[in-house]
């Protein structure tokens, strides 16, 4: 009873705020317009229009449009019910850990009814829900349990498409009444654009103000720190990134998520000359050549210690940075089954991620700082 009352009040609030916004659009401070991401939110009189451009990899020119209409409003003429989501949503399936992190940051985790890949989840509340059975694991792609998805009766399934989803298993859900939203946060190259997706979750869950305020304070802190580093750092240490798979080293482009973070943290990524949308396979031999001149190494795969790296590929142990022990992985916060908070809450807190990286690359700027996501290997 109280719950439904609360929902009605929230819905009413949203409705009124929509009306206001429609009239005084300019009066409301835009959260952060400096970063053009794949998500566009337009405020119309009685609804929100959400556009996701390039919703999956290699999807240039493709746009998906959703209309977020408050529950007690009539769907405006000319808008298809299929592309409408009634807000606030009451039950949601979150296919990615990043979605979970955003729901959690907004205090909306009680709306999560289903997730995907329970072993890879870090959040303790969601794991508790899985154990108690209040949250279910619906599987993924080939093993997606479509009957379970339908039986959970979610208002929305927040999914992500690695490739064109019409070829995948998730598309079979069309016709079952389950609305599938393809979230492209993981494709955002700028850490702040990735974080900005929290605004979508804010609209969906009736927590718009909170989402905007989180995003504003995070992007403010991020920009402030990046500016401080630009001013105060006197050097740009060279950074090696990633790890080999057998004899192949997939090199991330410099304009990738982590590439930007390294740059903003005052580091010089050794593949700063490489740009593009995808990682590119290089031979270990060629990466090794550049790595010989690097000052430090971050994200060396799953390795938990220097000796593990040396056991996997003894050649890497001869790198100068390895001998100096300047190797950090992003596995400070992990669960026994493989959940890593780096892939979860860090998406909402790029400012903290940046702080970690600044303290690694420029320890002189942050004396005594204890990293949150990163850990130095021993």
């Amino acid at each position: 009873m109280t719950r439904s009352l609360l929902l009605t009040v929230t819905a009413a609030l949203i409705l009124t705020s929509c009306r206001h916004a429609g009239q005084h659009q300019a009066a409301r401070p835009a959260p952060d317009t400096a970063i053009a991401g794949r998500l566009t939110i337009e405020r119309e009189k009685y609804y929100f229009k959400v556009t996701v451009s390039q919703p999956w990899q290699n999807s240039s020119g493709i746009e998906q449009v959703w209309y977020l209409v408050p529950r007690d409003s009539i769907i405006p003429a000319g808008i298809s019910e299929d592309h409408t989501i009634r807000i606030p949503v009451r039950k949601m399936i979150c296919m990615s850990t990043t979605h979970i992190a955003m729901m959690r940051a907004l205090g909306a985790d009680s709306l999560i009814a289903g997730i995907s890949g329970s072993s890879l989840i870090y959040d303790s509340i969601v794991r508790e829900g899985l154990r108690k059975g209040t949250i279910r694991d619906v599987g993924y792609e080939g093993s997606l349990n479509k009957e379970l998805v339908v039986s959970l009766e979610p208002d929305l399934m927040m999914a992500y498409g690695v490739a064109d989803p019409s070829t995948g298993n998730t598309s079979r859900l069309s016709g079952t009444g389950v609305k599938v939203f393809y979230n492209a946060d993981y494709l955002e190259e700028h850490p702040l654009s990735r974080c900005e997706w929290i605004r979508l979750f804010g609209l969906l869950t009736g927590r718009e103000e909170k989402a905007d305020s989180i995003f504003r304070s995070v992007s403010g802190a991020y920009r402030e720190l990046a500016a401080r580093v630009r001013e105060d750092a006197t050097s740009r240490p060279k950074v090696l990134l990633g790890a080999p798979w057998e004899d192949v080293w997939y090199v991330s482009p410099s304009d990738s998520y982590i590439g930007r973070l390294i740059e903003d943290a005052g580091g010089h990524y050794i593949y700063s000359d490489m740009t593009g949308p995808n990682s590119v396979p290089y031979s270990v031999e060629s990466v090794f050549r550049r790595a010989a001149e690097a000052d430090l190494w971050i994200n060396p795969g799953a390795a938990e210690s220097l000796s593990e790296i040396a056991a996997g590929d003894p050649r890497l142990a001869s790198l100068p940075l390895f001998r100096e022990g300047k190797v950090w992985n992003n596995r400070r916060r992990v669960t026994e089954t493989g959940g890593n908070d780096y892939w979860e809450s860090a998406v909402v807190r790029p400012d903290m991620l940046l702080r970690d990286l600044v303290s690694i690359i420029h320890p002189e700027l942050m004396p005594g700082y204890d990293q949150f996501y990163y850990r130095m290997l021993e």
């Binding site: 890949g117 072993s119 890879l120 993924y140 080939g142 093993s143 690695v162 990633g242 790890a243 080999p244 798979w245 057998e246 004899d247 192949v248 080293w249 997939y250 590119v280 396979p281 290089y282 031979s283 270990v284 031999e285 060629s286 990466v287 090794f288 050549r289 010989a292 994200n299 060396p300 795969g301 799953a302 390795a303 593990e308 790296i309 056991a311 996997g312 590929d313 003894p314 050649r315 890497l316 001869s318 992003n330 596995r331 992990v334 026994e336 089954t337 493989g338 890593n340 780096y342 892939w343």
Partner: protein
């Protein structure tokens, strides 16, 4: 034969001189003899030399294994994988990578080509070898053994598919990269182990030259000249499995080398006599894999293409040639 040996040496040097990064020939030589800068020395001694040595060992071992299988089964399209040895090794690797997830809970890249994967592959190949031998002891007809081997290989592939189906993207990618074959991430202790296994397998194979020649004349003939068929089969299966299983364990399932190279050797020397064919196949295998490795670094700019795509592109035309019967090689069985 001497020419083939010389060609192998030349390609060995060429493989050392070419790599995915630029290095001038004098610098390579300096590094090889320990008088170059430390960076160059690591590239040559830790990257290029082990890779070239592995190419020679793996090329020779896979090819001879294929030759033994072709003669034993008297089938020109037989190869090391017909008995499921490669599949068995793949199952071992899949079990380690795809199911023992807590040991390899990876987020992105993984460093795992240590001994764990190698031992698992070895165990898988060994298990299949034992099953095939057990069948071989009971069955008189060699074709039955062939069919059992192929069925076993299919069944194992199905099990691996099932594991792939239930595994996550990262494990899947790791496994797929393993199946693409790889000569480049083998340490010296591992090369020593591979060399020992190859030497053992080849030594056994070379003692079987006479029975192999007899098999080509038919089983009845073999018996009349005193070849004990059951014993010969077991020894041949053991040798072929040790060779193919070890290579697969260290380098992943190398495609086509085992099927194609024996035919190349037959073409080159125009004979079915194993006294010539055996060393010729071993040398030709080393030559082809060295060549494949050189080609795999050809794109330049630090990129490489998986060695299996190169061997397949060399191997497929050869196999086509055989199927089209142009050389009439099939009639030699």
């Amino acid at each position: 034969m001497a020419g083939l040996f010389l060609l192998m040496l030349i390609l060995f040097m060429a493989d050392m001189l070419t790599g995915s990064t630029q290095m001038a020939a004098p610098d390579v030589l300096k590094a090889l003899f320990g008088s170059g800068p430390a960076g160059d020395e690591i590239i040559v001694m830790q990257f290029r030399l082990p890779k070239a040595l592995t190419a020679i060992l793996a090329g020779a071992a896979m090819s001879v294994s294929g030759l033994l299988m072709q003669t034993l089964f008297r089938n020109p399209l037989a190869g090391p994988d017909v008995m499921g040895v490669s599949s068995g090794a793949g199952l071992g690797v899949a079990l380690t990578l795809l199911t023992l997830t807590p040991l390899f809970t990876l987020a992105e890249g993984s460093i795992l080509s240590g001994w764990g994967v190698i031992l698992a592959a070895w165990a898988g190949a060994g298990a299949v070898m034992i099953i095939i031998m057990a069948v071989s002891v009971r069955m008189r007809d060699i074709m039955t053994v062939l069919i059992v081997g192929m069925l076993l290989a299919s069944a194992i592939s199905a099990v691996v598919s099932l594991m792939q189906y239930f595994s996550n993207e990262v494990m899947l990618r790791t496994y797929v990269i393993w199946t693409m074959g790889n000569l480049g991430n083998i340490s010296y202790p591992q090369i020593r182990a591979l060399a020992l296994a190859t030497a053992a397998g080849l030594a056994i194979a070379f003692t079987m030259v006479k029975p192999l020649n007899a098999i080509l004349m038919g089983e009845t003939f073999s018996r009349t000249v005193g070849v004990r068929m059951q014993r010969t089969r077991i020894v041949l299966l053991a040798s072929a499995s040790i060779l193919a299983g070890s290579v697969t364990a260290f380098c992943g399932p190398l495609a086509f080398i085992g099927v194609a190279v024996p035919h190349i050797a037959r073409l080159l020397f125009g004979t079915s006599d194993h006294r010539i064919l055996m060393p010729a196949t071993a040398l030709a295998g080393a030559v082809i894999l060295l060549l494949s490795d050189i080609i795999s670094a050809l794109p330049g700019g630090g990129h490489i293409i998986p060695v299996n795509t190169v061997t397949s592109l060399i191997g497929i035309p050869v196999v086509l040639w055989i199927i089209l019967g142009k050389t009439g090689l099939g009639r030699r069985f």
